[in-house]
């Protein structure tokens, strides 16, 4: 059972384009903020590394998300380095999530589907690598 179809007017289209443009602006701001945040966290990590006399070629630990909070609270250099690197990698992914939300608000189903498909590819990569399938 479907209700009466309501045709979209040019005014509706302009409003939706305005929503998308504003969302792009906000996503852009968020990306810049995340990039500077990651640089700041990495600088702290490198400063702690220098203070602890750790050589970059000494061989760092592998990433373990469950240890991150403990490493940060103990002011361990590797905690800040991992946090900075995770923010770096997360920035474009957050942009895709933001775009999916904004396209959803603008009723653009195809673009929402594309954004979700990109996220599925990323999650598949994480799942395959984390389970050691490769």
């Amino acid at each position: 059972m479907s209700g009466p179809s309501i045709a979209r007017t040019p005014a509706d289209d302009r409003e939706l384009k305005g929503v998308a443009a504003l969302a792009e602006f906000r996503i852009g701001r968020l990306m810049i903020a995340m990039t500077y945040a990651s640089v700041a966290v990495l600088v702290i990590g490198v400063a702690l590394m220098v203070a602890a006399g750790i050589s970059p070629l000494s061989g760092g630990p592998t990433f373990d998300a469950s240890q991150l909070i403990a490493e940060l609270t103990s002011m361990s250099p590797v905690g800040f380095l991992w946090l900075g690197l995770v923010i770096v990698i997360a920035t474009p992914i957050v942009r895709v999530i933001g775009a999916a939300i904004s396209y959803g608000l603008a009723s653009q189903g195809t673009m929402v589907a594309i954004a979700v498909a990109i996220l599925v590819v990323i999650v598949a990569g994480v799942a395959i690598a984390a389970t050691g399938s490769v």
């Binding site: 443009a21 792009e24 602006f25 996503i27 852009g28 701001r29 968020l30 990306m31 810049i32 995340m34 990039t35 500077y36 990651s38 640089v39 990495l42 600088v43 990590g45 490198v46 590394m49 220098v50 006399g53 750790i54 050589s55 970059p56 070629l57 000494s58 061989g59 760092g60 630990p61 592998t62 990433f63 590797v78 380095l81 991992w82 900075g84 690197l85 770096v88 990698i89 997360a90 920035t91 474009p92 992914i93 942009r95 895709v96 775009a99 195809t110 673009m111 594309i114 954004a115 498909a117 990109i118 590819v121 990323i122 598949a124 990569g125 994480v126 395959i128 690598a129 984390a130 490769v134």
Partner: protein, 273 residues
């Protein structure tokens, strides 16, 4: 820590070169870390991917704020670059490192060749004429939706194939893939150069992120190397973008071509050992 300072400085030089010449910088980071610091190729690629994402995100944020990038086209192609990067990230472990070094040498030689002829090649449609063939195709409504003000996107099929290839190359070599994506969008898909450059920059982040997560969870990103290098690349790219208009790019381009060819030779020798 002199090694850390050299790493940071090397990253800054790679970032500045990349920014001044329109490349991501990854093309120099991998040889720097493998030939200069003795890292394995997968470790160097993992660090390079992180650095590439960092410089791409900062620039992409500005492009989005100013509405220069075509987000719809970028996201559509991103689906294929990310898929290519996933494939490349999975395939990378199966390829012998010496073969990968030889392939990287080939990539460096290709980029050197492209840079050497760039002044003549950087032309593309500023305002595209309508493509009659595409008008008749079932993809015409999709192409309309992906087009921007003053230009019409065409050859989506070629774009999809090229974007997938760029994703595979990104994951294998730790590069952003702009060297493939910009000509693809500009020359094959009819996107103006300025929009193609901005859209490529936007796509680099998610392309590199798709394979960076694989390298991260496989334990091939060393935080002690990635931290100083990524900071260096960020500083270099920021300085490069501010100094670009004050530097004679012709001589810098020649120097870059020489550096690339020398590095290609060294990578080739590494692969043949």
């Amino acid at each position: 820590m002199p090694v850390g300072l050299v790493m940071l400085g090397g990253g800054a030089v790679a970032g500045a070169f990349g920014s001044l010449l329109g490349l991501g910088g990854g093309i120099l980071i991998v040889p720097l870390l493998t030939l200069g610091f003795g890292l394995s190729l997968p470790e160097a690629v993992g660090v390079s991917l992180v650095s590439v994402i960092m410089t791409s995100s900062a620039a992409a944020g500005v492009y989005l704020e100013r509405h220069v990038a075509n987000l719809r086209l970028g996201m559509t192609l991103e689906l294929f670059t990310a898929s290519g990067a996933l494939i490349g990230g999975l395939v990378a472990v199966a390829i012998d490192e010496r073969l990968l070094s030889i392939l990287f040498a080939g990539l460096l030689a290709y980029v050197a060749f492209t840079m050497a002829r760039a002044p003549r090649a950087e032309h593309g449609p500023e305002i595209d004429s309508l493509d009659e063939h595409d008008d008749d195709s079932p993809l015409a409504p999709t192409l309309d939706r992906l087009s921007g003000a003053g230009y019409r996107v065409r050859n989506l099929g070629r774009g999809v194939v090229g974007a997938t290839g760029a994703g595979v190359a990104s994951a294998l070599f730790g590069i952003g893939g702009g060297i493939i994506k910009v000509p693809l969008m500009n020359l094959a898909m009819g996107v103006p150069l300025r929009v193609a450059t901005a859209t490529s920059n936007l796509m680099i982040g998610i392309t590199a992120a798709a394979s960076a997560v694989i390298y991260l969870f496989r334990g091939e990103i060393d935080p002690y190397v990635a931290g100083p290098t990524a900071i260096g690349v960020f500083i270099g790219a920021t300085l490069g973008s501010r100094l670009g208009h004050r530097i004679e790019l012709r001589y810098l381009r020649i120097l870059f071509v020489v550096v690339l060819l020398y590095t290609a030779f060294q990578m080739l020798m590494r692969g043949l050992k």
